[in-house]
């Protein structure tokens, strides 16, 4: 099966049916290992046990960049007008919104004991909140427009415009003086974290990434079936009208 074959919804569904159980199994195993390692990780000399929140906050924060995947799909919708591109973007949006919400809430719960506040209107926190609101807006747009092809084009344009926020989120901690700490894993000169924290964090990050892939493929399968239902309903309506 070539990459081009996957652009065919029927072949994509067939591949998804075969791959999903394996992906789900690998995700569960990795997350269980990551949770065990997180539980066994030592306390940080400054943060104490609250460092354990990092093992779930950071993977969720990385996954809010699902918007980047959606931006690539938006290009596929606008340039090649491929229906699977819109399916991919539409299926990813609620999952990306959920991960962004979790990044905000776990960050807030980590911030209260460490910073003394649940929320601060600094550049990182505010730009992530804007991203979350953009996810909600995009989901609302897909639901508001009945015609899928019109909704796809409008959503693709909004997605590409919203992608401007991604570098702002990433570099906000470098460009402005923020309460949020600078990057400690993806930075010039390598990670600044000790291995005792870095390894569980990376295992959890890979686990959550696999979780996203699994959920995304399953949600794409549902979206393809939803469009098949719509096509058949239209066919049924035209048969009844004839």
């Amino acid at each position: 099966m070539t990459l081009l074959d996957l652009a065919n919804p029927t072949k994509f569904l067939s591949l998804t049916a075969r791959v999903l159980p394996w992906l789900a199994g690998a995700t569960a195993i990795l997350l269980l290992i990551g949770l065990y390692q997180s539980a066994m990780a030592p306390d940080d000399y400054q943060q104490g046990a609250t460092v354990k929140i990092m093992f779930i906050h950071v993977p969720n924060a990385w996954l809010m960049f699902v918007w980047g995947v959606m931006s690539l799909s938006a290009l596929g919708t606008l340039v090649w007008r491929h229906p699977l591109a819109d399916v991919a973007a539409k299926a990813a949006a609620p999952i990306g919104a959920a991960f962004t919400f979790l990044a905000l809430v776990t960050g807030s719960l980590w911030g209260r004991p460490m910073w003394g506040t649940y929320w601060e209107w600094d550049a990182r926190l505010t730009s992530v909140l804007i991203l979350f609101l953009m996810y909600l807006g995009l989901i609302a747009l897909w639901r508001a427009v009945d015609d899928p092809s019109r909704a796809a084009r409008a959503a693709a344009i909004l997605t590409l415009v919203g992608a401007i926020n991604l570098p702002i989120i990433k570099f906000s901690v470098d460009w402005w003086n923020t309460l949020h700490q600078p990057a400690s894993v993806m930075r010039m000169g390598g990670p600044s974290l000790d291995k005792a924290f870095l390894i569980p964090l990376l295992v959890m990050a890979v686990g959550f990434s696999l979780l996203f892939v699994t959920l995304h493929l399953a949600a794409m399968r549902n979206e393809i079936l939803r469009r098949r239902v719509r096509a058949l309903q239209m066919m049924q309506a035209s048969q009844q009208a004839a």
């Binding site: 046990a49 939803r226 048969q239």
Partner: protein, 58 residues
């Protein structure tokens, strides 16, 4: 494993993430069943795909 004075913040964070992941899994599973049921209904009413395959065939 002692979680110290901020145990409630740590436990709440993990509980929220677990709950949200479970909600996503259940929501996607229910949606899949709903679409399959709709396709079966359409198939039962005699509507067929242009390819001639059953509506629920992958």
């Amino acid at each position: 494993m002692a979680l110290g004075p901020y145990a409630s913040f740590i436990v709440t964070s993990y509980a929220l993430v677990t709950a949200m992941v479970l909600i996503l899994i259940v929501w996607i599973a229910i949606d899949y069943r709903r679409q399959q049921a709709r396709l079966r209904e359409l198939e039962a009413s005699g509507v067929t795909r242009r390819s001639g395959r059953n509506a629920t065939d992958i």
